[in-house]
């Protein structure tokens, strides 16, 4: 799982916009699949991630081809999701959902995080 974090971090600086080359996905269905397939268990319902399990997916850009490649053959601890389990359209829907997640509030606007 930490390997995924590293990959995502590397890709964050990618020259290409992350959504480039991505097929059209249904973010609403992606949200349903995110819950149904249990992605939220490790990555959080808002894609906020967890230090103990899955990295943050919210606002953590990755290109679609890399996204699909990773879920098919993850290098970390995430279970692999074959096309038989998550087909390409479902992967696109999941990707669209992740792209749609809102930005968090500015950290300095949260008094409890200044303690």
């Amino acid at each position: 799982m930490k390997s995924l974090l590293l990959i995502l971090a590397m890709l964050a600086g990618s020259q290409n916009p992350p959504a480039a080359n991505a097929p059209r996905g249904d973010a609403q269905n992606g949200k349903t699949l995110f819950m149904k397939y249990g992605c939220y268990e490790c990555h959080g319902r808002e894609g906020q991630g967890s230090n103990a399990t899955g990295p943050r997916l919210n606002q953590n850009p990755i290109t679609y081809p890399r996204f699909v490649a990773y879920i098919r053959k993850p290098s970390g601890e995430m279970p692999p999701y074959t096309a038989k389990v998550v087909n390409d359209q479902q992967a696109a829907d999941l990707y669209a959902f992740l792209q749609s997640l809102p930005k968090p509030p500015a950290v300095d606007s949260i008094p409890l995080l200044k303690q």
Binding site: K2, Y37, E41, G44, R45, Q48, N51, G54, P105, Q115
Partner: protein, 640 residues
């Protein structure tokens, strides 16, 4: 205690006499008592004459002192403050001696609703107080219940003083259930995960073995020990003729690392460009934390705290616990202090379609280990983990060895090395600050989400307790408290269960709070829902014994640890993952933990689903805790 006739015969002789007398009472004139089956010893008491006459044999049931009184003397000599137990007939005399003869003080009887809770309470208590308390249980069914808790304490290297009742002499057992509650070798069920056990056959033997057991339990690696208190031995009247002596329980000095090995380790550490210190159960006491700080500051080396104990302050500039992997990968010398899993610290492991592993350190990286675990390893249970290839392995207690190691390091530091250390320290401090800032940013994601994020829950709780003298006695929220809170006192974190046996958290938090009570500390727990449902009766124990505790429920309504395993198997077998919730969720119906706690006289609120409601709810609960009550806030939370 009522005055009674002195009786110096032993119990066996008395019971034999009572049985014959009973038979004789029922015998017709001219018949001998032995011509009829022996009546139960209770028969004469049903005879009206027993209430008006003087039944001489029944009178001998009373005695001023019995064997269990002496056992209490022994226990008092060990300065054991509490005995946690669910009552049981096989130790009824010891129970009675504690509450009457001993005055229910040191030890005080703590009423528990499950033996697993008894052990987990004692487990956490010991980590706060640095010494064991007692657990009593039936040698059979009670010990079976207690077994998982004992295994947790064993894996966590924690002393617990366990006394189990048993009736070894078959001729003395009451018919019926006492037979089901008797066993030839009571300790056998847990012998693989206690450090020592004994079955004394005399009171003198009990005294000697109790002192020995205490000494063994308190010698690193500290572990649970078990004594069998035979019921006949407990109940046998004591006479003035008995010459009994309480043995002095000596404490051993913890083993220090060999001086040559210490010198060699110091040489490697001083010469290293990127040394890394990894600590798991390194600090046994507050002094251990101080020693580790001194070594790290002397070397200006980063510390990765794996959390088995409170090893290192979270806001110390050399605490780089969140950057473990890259630091391990860059290290040229790694010092492991009481690591559970050194192999896992320096290797990566993948559990995918094929299981693979690889070393993540650079070629030539030197590994130094100091652990008392090397002094004591058993075969059956595999808590010793994969075999690590260590360059310098000291079979010694890390805390006891650290001062000598630091002194050896200081002796080797040249001005050049000191300059290099200072430059390294500045870089590490910057990395620490960056990690702290990153944690703040990460915590903002999902800040207003419902269910409530674990980061928000941790931040809201911290806001309410940060100005108190607090102690986090159980943490079910993963790493967020360590990332956001300022841990700088030893008792503020006590590690985990040890054996990852679920059901530890709730009773451990009550046991930790019991230890903290006399210091007036605020005990706080972040309580997992699945863990609480193992034995929620411990909530009653907290109320009954007036143990203040602020418990914030991390109620994610599932056993999330296991879900990913189901997903992994479903994916591996190409069968999908949409049914992984079966058997892993705690929904339908949702459990109302506030009502559960209220039913046992806790102050409780919830379920809280809106994050804006959480801070005020914790504040109200905290006010109840300050009144001396246990209080619970049920928070419906994100999975992790």
């Amino acid at each position: 205690m009522a005055k009674s006739r002195k009786f110096s015969a032993d119990r066996r002789k008395f019971l034999k006499g009572a049985a014959v007398a009973g038979a004789a009472t029922l015998a017709a004139p001219g018949e001998t008592a032995v011509a009829r089956p022996a009546a139960r010893v209770t028969a004469p008491l049903q005879d009206p004459r027993a209430e008006t006459g003087t039944p001489p044999e029944a009178e001998v049931l009373t005695t001023d002192h019995c064997g269990s009184d002496f056992m209490v003397d022994v226990i008092k000599s060990l300065d054991i403050e509490y005995f946690c137990a669910n009552p049981g007939s096989s130790f009824r005399a010891l129970h009675e001696s504690i509450v009457n003869y001993g005055g229910n003080q040191k030890p005080e009887f703590i009423t528990c609703c499950h033996e697993e809770s008894s052990v987990a309470m004692a487990h956490a208590y010991s980590k706060i107080e640095g010494k064991p308390i007692g657990v009593m249980a039936h040698g059979t069914v009670g010990l079976q219940h207690a077994a998982m808790g004992i295994y947790n304490a064993y894996c966590d290297r924690v002393p617990v003083f366990i006394v189990v009742g048993n009736s070894l002499d078959a001729t003395q057992r009451r018919p019926g259930v006492e037979w089901e509650h008797s066993v030839q070798d009571a300790a056998s069920i847990v012998r693989d995960f206690v450090k020592w056990d004994d079955t004394p056959i005399s009171l003198g033997h009990f005294a000697e073995s109790a002192a020995r057991a205490y000494k063994i339990a308190m010698t690193p690696p500290m572990e649970p020990v078990l004594l069998v208190a035979d019921s006949d031995l407990q109940e046998r009247p004591l006479s003035e003729k008995d010459k009994l002596r309480v043995q002095k329980a000596t404490r051993t000095s913890p083993p220090q690392g060999d001086s040559g090995a210490v010198a060699e380790a110091a040489k490697l550490l001083v010469a290293a460009q990127n040394p890394v210190i990894v600590a798991d159960r390194a600090a046994r006491t507050a002094a251990g934390m101080k020693y580790l700080m001194e070594l790290a500051e002397t070397l200006q080396a980063p510390v990765l705290d794996q959390g088995g104990r409170m090893n290192f302050p979270t806001r110390h500039k050399l605490n780089l616990s969140g950057r473990g992997r890259p630091l391990i990968a860059e290290a040229d010398v790694i010092l492991g202090l009481e690591l559970t899993d050194f192999w896992g610290t320096v290797n990566s492991y993948r559990d995918q379609l094929e299981r693979t592993s690889r070393r993540i350190t650079k070629p030539g990286t030197k590994l130094i280990s100091i652990t008392a675990g090397d002094l004591y390893i058993k075969s059956n249970y595999q808590d010793f983990e994969r075999y690590p290839e260590i360059d310098i392995a000291m079979a010694a207690d890390a805390e006891a060895t650290l001062p000598a190691l630091t002194e050896a390091v200081k002796r080797l530091i040249t001005p050049d090395r000191k300059n290099a250390f200072q430059a390294r320290g500045a870089k590490l401090a910057a990395a620490h600050d960056a990690a702290a800032e990153q944690a703040r940013k990460e915590a903002a994601y999902g800040w207003d989400a419902s269910p409530i994020s674990t980061a928000r829950m941790s931040a809201e709780l911290w806001a309410q307790i940060k100005n108190e003298d607090w102690s986090l006695v159980s943490n079910g929220a993963g790493g967020w408290p360590q990332r956001l809170w300022n841990f700088d006192k030893y008792y503020q974190h006590i590690g985990g269960s040890g054996g990852a046996g679920v059901g530890y958290g709730a009773p451990a938090s009550v046991g930790g709070a019991l230890a903290n009570r006399k210091y007036g500390r605020l005990s706080v727990s972040i309580q997992n829902d699945g863990d609480l449902m193992y034995a929620p009766g411990v909530l009653w124990t907290a109320s009954h014994h007036r143990i203040p505790l602020l418990s914030v429920m991390h109620n994610n309504r599932a056993y999330h640890q296991e879900v990913m395993h189901l997903q992994r198997m479903g994916n591996r077998h190409n069968r999908g993952i949409d049914r992984a919730y079966i058997g892993t969720t705690i929904e339908d119906p949702n459990i109302d933990y506030a009502k559960l706690a209220q039913s046992m006289s806790w102050y409780a609120e919830g379920p809280i689903t809106d994050p804006k409601d959480l801070g005020p709810a914790i504040k109200r609960a905290l006010a109840a805790v300050k009144r001396g009550e246990p209080a619970l806030v049920d928070v419906v939370s994100q999975p992790r």
